[in-house]
């Protein structure tokens, strides 16, 4: 098994600590990520997931508990946060709102330029990052940022962090607000970042449909704690009512097979994709089609 690159133990955080407005956000979180893994952090608004990820590149420091990311000990007040942030990139929600340069090429180049790299090196990194997000370097480097579509802007923002060549990438609600085609493109892109760049990915989301397609492991947070963890299949085979307790909604396909099983049809409840559900329902209804097994479907 690969090394653990993020290790969080008993992390607590209270906003406005020591004032009458005190608001506890994290109440003892354990969380870990291995190199090359894609981990999803799930939970509804206010569960503490954003507070947790802000600890991962030193935007917040542990008040109680321990946080280690790569070889950086965030409990050490003298830790080199600047070096850490070159290796751990955080892309906030709606990053398209954060594009500020006039030209696409300059926007992507902003980070590498801050690193003090040579002109050629900056250019090479911008080229690599734009190609990685599926925007041709020659076609896009001189485009005006404000003329791009929403999906293109989001990819430019992503290229901006990839140009820093991080090892760990945290994406907050990466698919929110995109149209179906934009979502499909970005899912493919994130998969490629994983397989070709070997990035360790942490996806923060309240939309379980997205996560099903991407994550190796999920952590469900509620009220400042991790309340469930496991593979997507383990999480979504939970009864929908239990997920609803944590403010989550199972993917539509999973909800459909749960409902069919409740109605007495002999189908497995842990289907995650349309493909799986189709063959499972077809089998139960004697419509032919091959039954699937969890090992065969995970490859999709």
């Amino acid at each position: 098994m690969s090394e653990v690159v993020v290790e969080v133990r008993g992390l607590e955080h209270t906003y406005m600590r020591g004032t009458p407005m005190e608001a506890p956000s994290l109440k003892g979180v354990d969380f870990d990520v291995r190199r090359g893994e894609t981990v999803a952090l799930l939970g509804h608004t206010g569960c503490g997931k954003s507070t947790l990820v802000q600890h991962l590149n030193g935007l917040l420091r542990p008040q109680k508990g321990r946080v280690r990311v790569l070889e950086y000990d965030l409990n050490d007040p003298k830790v080199d946060v600047k070096a850490l942030r070159r290796r751990v990139a955080l892309l906030f929600q709606n990053p398209e709102a954060q594009l500020f340069e006039r030209y696409v090429g300059d926007d992507v180049a902003f980070g590498p330029r801050q690193l003090g790299l040579s002109r050629e090196e900056v250019r090479a990194r911008v080229r690599e990052a734009l190609e990685a997000v599926g925007l041709g370097f020659e076609a896009f480097k001189d485009r005006l940022t404000f003329t791009l579509s929403g999906g293109e802007k989001r990819r430019v923002a992503l290229a901006g962090v990839l140009a820093l060549r991080p090892e760990i990438l945290v994406l907050d609600e990466p698919l929110a607000g995109l149209d179906p085609a934009g979502r499909r493109h970005l899912v493919e892109l994130i998969r490629r970042l994983k397989s070709e760049w070997g990035l360790t990915l942490i996806l923060v989301s309240h939309d379980l449909e997205d996560v099903v397609l991407l994550a190796d492991r999920c952590f469900v947070m509620a009220d400042g704690r991790v309340v469930l963890s496991g593979t997507p299949r383990e999480i979504f085979s939970q009864p929908p009512a239990r997920l609803a307790e944590f403010g989550l909604q199972p993917p539509a396909v999973t909800a459909a097979v749960h409902a069919l099983a409740e109605a007495g049809l002999g189908v497995r409840r842990d289907c995650l994709t349309v493909d799986e559900a189709v063959s499972e329902i077809a089998r139960a209804l004697g419509m032919g089609g091959k039954p699937w097994t969890s090992s065969s479907c995970c490859a999709t």
Binding site: H44, T45, P180, H206, A252, A259, A263, V274, A282, G286
Partner: protein
């Protein structure tokens, strides 16, 4: 669904071009003709950049057509003398709740719109009460809006708009930034306004599941209306929708794939309830056959 002969909002050959006067602009709407009738619940879907939001902004004269006309209850939106009437007939809720809340206390925020319309004090109180009841935010009336969740803020924004008693409520991706619970509550509120208060709803959305709840789905692509009909008919066009960068609800996709395996399974299922019912019928049919 009541469909009297006279539409409440009518667009005729609407073109809209953004950009420099005289120069070459971006043509966001290329000849759109549509009619919305009192009491309808219409969903508008379309890929990013297809002109949905531009269309929405024409419905209450936030934008005026470059060519063509928009009529709201017979008022042409080009006529500035009727802008007040047009805007009190058609209310708008946008994507970002933070950008729409103005006051420091929920009830003041809800009162802001009707107060500006000159609604007398007693009536104002009654309207704020009603609006907060409808969106189920009565318990939060003295809270500051910035401490609410996204879904709660969006419901306050809706309350502020319906307190002006519009006949048409336009929602421009009003659920896009919400989590599943927030989205569910907002959808329930909208459903309630349509069913109980008879309000005409025009909802722009990227969520196909949401569009399936409407009476009618309008599909936009490249500035034009390319499909318009009941959700069951629109979502039968799976290949065309996917070619436009759209999709069908997951449950519909599931049913279509089952239909391909066995034509006895109907392809045009829109909800989980329908799927269960259909599967049980197919199942019962087979038991009989055996």
């Amino acid at each position: 669904m009541a469909s009297p002969a006279e539409p409440i909002v009518r667009l005729e050959g609407v073109r809209h071009v953004y950009g420099p006067h005289g120069g070459k602009g971006v043509e966001a709407l290329r000849g759109v003709s549509l009619a919305f009738y009192a009491g309808e619940h219409v969903a508008i879907i379309g890929p990013n950049g297809s002109g949905k939001s531009t269309l929405a902004k024409h419905l209450n004269a936030l934008l005026l057509p470059t060519e063509g006309d928009v009529w709201v209850k017979g008022w042409n939106t080009r006529d500035p003398r009727h802008w007040r009437d047009v805007r009190s007939t058609v209310g708008m809720v946008f994507q970002n709740p933070d950008a729409q809340l103005v006051a420091t206390v929920v009830e003041e925020d809800v009162a802001f719109g009707p107060e500006n319309l000159g609604v007398p004090r007693d009536e104002l109180r009654a309207r704020v009460d009603w609006a907060l009841d409808v969106v189920d935010m009565q318990a939060y009336r003295f809270r500051p809006p910035h401490l609410l969740s996204g879904g709660q803020k969006q419901r306050v924004a809706i309350a502020g708009v319906i307190a002006m008693r519009p006949q048409v409520l336009v929602l421009d991706e009003a659920t896009a930034m919400l989590d599943p619970l927030g989205r569910r509550d907002v959808l329930r509120t909208v459903e309630h306004l349509n069913r109980e208060a008879g309000m005409t709803i025009v909802a722009i959305t990227h969520f196909m599941e949401e569009a399936a709840l409407a009476d009618r789905v309008v599909v936009m692509h490249a500035g034009q209306v390319v499909l318009d009909g009941p959700p069951r008919e629109v979502f039968r066009q799976r290949e065309r929708l996917q070619a436009w960068g759209l999709d069908v609800p997951h449950v519909t996709e599931l049913a279509a794939r089952l239909h391909a395996l066995d034509p006895a399974f109907p392809p045009d299922v829109l909800s989980i309830e329908e799927l269960v019912e259909t599967a049980c019928q197919v199942w019962a049919g087979q038991e009989k056959a055996l």
